[in-house]
């Protein structure tokens, strides 16, 4: 256990990361049952579960400082209180090229973010980041595998271009140069966290539908 409470900025960053994973996992779950083919449906569903699992672990970490529990942080805040990057909020269901573009860009950005968190002074966060990094190895491999397969498709290249400013917004400004280097794109103005993407409010509404119907109930 750490001797002193972690700095507020670190807790904010954990919450933002958790929100990213939750909302991306939610968006990725929109493909469960309707992915391009059955084998991939199963694989992509594991990716979505991995993201929700990471969100849960991050919320639990934050709850240890802020109080409450992971579910309360995940579901009981107002939409304005979520700190996810607009990138993960975009609805790309139906568009596999865009979905894979996001998957690949996000995993690449996430590798940079997680690597930094493994150096955190907050021991629990550093430990969690290490665990996440191990699991992410499969996600990265999967994303790379698909990127290699779709690299020749125009619609994939277009999707990467369209999503690039959003992808940059996942990372702290200081880390974006590194992302640009790895992805091979020029660093542009990022779509920053703050204002939510269109559709986030209705996502939040659907996500919290059952929970809000009976506040405080155990499920």
């Amino acid at each position: 256990m750490s001797a002193q409470a972690p700095p507020e900025a670190a807790v904010e960053a954990v919450l933002a990361f958790a929100d990213d994973e939750l909302v991306l996992g939610w968006r990725d779950s929109e493909w469960t049952g309707v992915a391009p083919f059955l084998e991939e449906d199963v694989a992509f569903s594991s990716i979505a579960q991995g993201e929700i699992g990471h969100a849960r672990a991050l919320y639990e970490l934050a709850a240890g400082v802020l109080g409450g529990d992971a579910d309360a942080l995940a579901f009981d805040r107002e939409p304005e209180a979520y700190r996810c990057a607009p990138f993960v909020e975009l609805q790309l269901a139906g568009d596999w090229a865009a979905t894979i573009a996001r998957h690949w860009l996000y995993e690449t950005a996430d590798a940079i973010r997680v690597a930094a968190l493994m150096e955190s002074d907050w021991p629990e966060l550093a430990g969690l980041a290490l665990k996440m990094d191990r699991e992410e190895a499969y996600h990265r491999m999967h994303a790379q595998m698909w990127r290699d397969k779709l690299a020749e498709e125009d619609r994939f290249a277009t999707a990467v271009d369209d999503l690039w400013p959003y992808a940059l917004g996942v990372l702290e400004p200081g880390q974006r140069g590194r992302l640009a280097e790895v992805v091979g794109h020029e660093e542009l103005d990022a779509v920053e966290r703050g204002a939510h993407a269109e559709g986030f409010v209705s996502l939040h509404e659907e996500m919290t539908l059952v929970r809000r119907s009976m506040p405080g109930a155990r499920w």
């Binding site: 084998e39 991939e40 199963v42 694989a43 999967h142 595998m145």
Partner: protein
């Protein structure tokens, strides 16, 4: 492309056929094999083989024309000889 997956349930056990899946190449086939046969940690090891690499041998063994009883246990009758040997040795 169809790939066959063989799985080992526990260490030391034989690899058994688990099932088949469709994948464009070996990389995808391996990823899918893990998903299908190991996501609940139900296999400790997996093999993936293109279906076309497997030959289905229709007649596992040619029918006996010449007597090959030397390859089976029932091809040897030890009882009679053993009794004779014991009598000889006085240990019957």
């Amino acid at each position: 492309m169809i790939w066959e997956v063989f799985r080992q349930e526990r260490e030391g056990q034989p690899f058994q056929h688990g099932g088949s899946l469709e994948a464009p190449n070996r990389e995808f086939a391996e990823a899918y094999a893990v998903e299908f046969y190991s996501r609940r940690a139900e296999s400790v090891a997996l093999w993936v083989v293109p279906r076309e690499a497997i030959s289905d041998i229709e007649e596992p063994y040619v029918a006996d024309v010449f007597d090959r009883d030397y390859r089976r246990v029932d091809g040897y009758s030890l009882k009679v000889k053993l009794r004779e040997a014991r009598e000889r040795a006085g240990t019957a």
